[in-house]
Subunit: 325 residues, 4 copies
């Protein structure tokens, strides 16, 4: 049975470059946490640094999670929402910034331990570049690799899930796609470094997410975490799961099951103009609708047979008859 969780920060903080104050009133943290706990099937929360959790409020957050029966699934260090990281964090050209970023990550490790959270989900959104000929690609990518390695060695009790995204906020991210991020994870030589797939980042990168799952799992069981959302294909629109695509979610859940993924399915959306709780809830309900079918051994056998035979017409017929009324 799949374990569902939610990123608290994304549930609350949703502004954009035109409306920096955000599209709606954000309720207090306790309200958000209570709302998350009320979503059917949700048992865990991801907390974003700065936005949701820091060394000063960590105990308070821990109490709230306990009160509402939620596990802290991951800490997402804030390497993107502070002006000092504007030109990069752990791969910044400025050595002082790299040092600050590492110091902050060590602090996040402590925060995670206090919350009995086993995973840091590292999304270094500012690490990359915007313009051609703006980055010393050799040197900066090395800093990134060295710092991830150092961090992972310093905390063998923590799993580091590296989250890739092709672009935004930089026009090119250093961790851009599943395979380059896996290469980086492999180069650290550390068992506690793996990759997080965000389905929408995968679509925006032109990946078939089911295949990204397989690549990461086949090359060393390196799929550490999953973020779910939907988009129109060209940008990280962070929408409700199933609002654009359908068969890809069936394939993704199928391969997650086939490859023995036992981590969380975490909802990661930006419901700018929607009720946050209900938008996330719809995503969970959509995935549970698919999961319900895949719970059947017969359905799983049919899927195995379909992918083995590879007849697109039969697959479409099966999808239509199995899922649609």
């Amino acid at each position: 049975m799949n374990k569902y969780s939610v990123i608290l920060g994304n549930l609350g903080n949703t502004c954009d470059r035109f409306l920096s104050s955000g599209y709606k009133e954000i309720p207090p943290k306790e309200t958000l946490i209570r709302q998350a706990s009320e979503i059917n099937g949700v048992k865990g929360l991801e907390l974003v640094g700065t936005w949701d959790v820091n060394k000063d409020n960590v105990n308070e957050m821990g109490d709230l999670l306990s009160k509402y029966g939620l596990e802290c699934v991951s800490i997402i260090p804030d390497l993107f929402a502070q002006r000092r990281w504007g030109k990069g964090s752990i791969s910044a050209k400025d050595p002082a910034i790299r040092a600050q970023a590492m110091e902050y990550l060590y602090e996040c490790v402590e925060t995670a331990r206090i919350l009995k959270c086993g995973t840091l989900n590292i999304w270094p959104g500012q690490d990359g570049y915007d313009y051609i000929l703006q980055s010393d690609l050799i040197q900066e990518r090395r800093w990134l690799e060295e710092n991830i390695t150092t961090l992972a060695k310093s905390a063998p009790d923590i799993r580091f899930a590296l989250e890739y995204k092709p672009k935004e906020p930089r026009n090119f991210s250093f961790m851009a796609r599943a395979a380059d991020t896996l290469l980086l994870a492999q180069r650290t030589g550390m068992d506690n470094v793996g990759v997080c797939i965000d389905t929408g980042h995968g679509y925006a990168a032109g990946e078939n997410v089911g295949e990204s799952v397989v690549i990461l799992q086949e090359y060393g069981k390196k799929l550490f975490h999953m973020h779910f959302n939907d988009n129109y294909g060209g940008w990280d629109d962070d929408m409700i799961v199933g609002s654009v695509h359908f068969p890809t979610y069936v394939e993704t859940l199928f391969w997650l099951k086939e490859t023995g993924y036992d981590g969380w399915l975490s909802m990661d959306q930006y419901p700018y103009r929607e009720d946050g709780k209900r938008a996330v809830e719809e995503s969970v309900l959509f995935l549970q609708m698919i999961e319900k079918h895949l719970d059947s051994p017969k359905v799983m056998d049919e899927l195995r047979s379909l992918v083995t035979r590879g007849n697109a017409v039969e697959t479409q017929k099966w999808l239509r008859e199995t899922f649609y009324k």
Copy 2:
């Protein structure tokens, strides 16, 4: 009740630039026509010039259509599969080519009349350009407009559906999107010139196809024809309907109904490696599955209410509960 049809030519001819001989054996025309007639709900055929029909075989084709109880829904003049049109047809720089293209189109009008077919679906795939600074954009677009106007005036008994596509085989098509093609149609000043939406061309152009339907219908009932297929969003992959996306087809069928579209829903795919008949059949079955729901006045009322309120969460909930098991 929707009327379904199929493009015969696309059912048979499917090669690409790497495998010019095509991926499979193509059965004889009669077999293809019989197969089309056996698809549940299919009552019409579109015939592509050169590939399927020409002045020499028109009577034979007419007999075959009669034999299998199929209506000729449209003729698609071949303005793309002859070497002489390689640099454009009715907007080519070479006046001799433009004249030949017009002559050929008049011939297609005759063919249509013989087949009691009321529509020419004009897809001038070679009319456009590949490189920046390669086209005299003012002059060539004028030739296109003038020739469409002349053609339409010459045959007031025929409806001309202009089919747009952003690119391929040229990197830029002159008829690229719904609105620019509508502008061109309006400029002819002719009631018998309208637009054909190919859903996949719309996705590749970044359009929300439901909105393209509304624009064409609102600005003078100019939606003359519909081609259906699916793709991944960036290219005209010409796949089975519903194999990638879902809600967009509900919205498209909803607005077709709301705006009083009473034309054909024609399947236009390139089943390179699939059984052609069954691939097309799956598309029809998928659309019929949606149509069945939209047949209910209650469902249509719910849709009207959803688009009026605009609450994305409610819409997703409704889609999930209405369509998915």
Copy 3:
């Protein structure tokens, strides 16, 4: 000789959804205006509502423009950076919001008159939708059209340049591409309604911008304004002109000249992490480099000949030999 201008607001306000406080310190308005005036060739400013100008500071802004010898090229009403417009402004479902948006636009007309500015550049960024089946596409597009018409009728002394963009902040904008925005402009029946091309919006829409120029000019001299920037093709990255593409700018300046465009070339960038003044200045210098060549009647004749002949090899050779050292 081309007239260059700058959007003041974009020069200063550059945050994104992750770093809502922005990437740098923003100098006071007077400093920004002085900086703009120091850029070689820049003679005009565009002012964004709320961010730069409102009814309370309009006289102060007018004095500053005079002090630094700058013309107010356009007012860009703020229909995107206030929470009340979050679900649309002049096409919002809520009639009270539509009324407020119109009232605000009338106010902007007054502001423009005070500043002796002849153009309102209307970018209704929030008017559109995010999800499929979220918009009553017929009704909401009608409100948009009616309100633009009413506005244009109310101020015949002002030109209204409608700026299109395919997406962001909404996943689908009602004014999405050149041709649909031209259709809307035509439907108002008003001579003082036209279109603004933002080159980057055009690229993101898959348009060849030179062709968009031609379409707007050919169909009634409807190109009212130009915004310049560059991007990687899939998103409005708002970068320095020429930092990604080259030949497209030659073609665009060529057709602007050929079609008699005599408006401003306005720089519209988001230099998140760059020195704003210098980033804009580089764009102007890049365009001036091209302009210098196009000033030559011989070069213009060569271009006319190239587009007439359409030989891509010759065009590339000519570009290489004419522009590159």
Copy 4:
């Protein structure tokens, strides 16, 4: 000094799915070879299996290459233009097809040896899938890896350059991007397996090609070969180098030099409607124009300084002043 070469097959065979007979008359092989030899700087040819070379004509081709003073830079086995490979070659579901593909590749090794050609450029264009849930992603990717490994072990005297491409002719290729192809190369454990970058495939995959060069070189000097062309970003348009983009080619040549790449720069275009020889020649001339600047140690030092500092404004200024008249 860079070594330039040309793919003979692409120079001649250029049809598409609409015009399967091709857009122009193809001259005899000897004419094509002579034309290639006449292009300034071109010293090598790549030969495509079936189209250009096979076991029957290999000696004749060898003689022609000698006659015109051209080196055979690589053999590109035909794994894409035969109907039997339509559903895959070395990863096909059918074991008989996989066996045939391997047998054919062994034959290509022999052909290469006869031509004293050290490289097989493997582009398994049909290996992938079109539809979701059509591929047994684990098993088929394993077959691909095993067969590449077996092949590489069988011919230690030959280098195997794996060419990636995100899509076409399949909607998803197994070798899709630089990093996943590098992973595959690494997994073979063979020093004679590396990667070929086609610049246009990189753009279509959303990669910054300079960074792909760095990744491949940094992770084990795995860049074995380079194909050059240009496109609009979303598809493999196979155009003349520099006809769309500029700075990316400067960055790519810079990093090729910085990372010690000493292989060929091979032109890979589809000049459907152009004179093939002259279209390829323009690409070579464009790259030579850049190379001429990069020959200067001062320019290389300036570039090193620019990427170290990362100031986009300075970079743009430098590009403008260094390259443009």
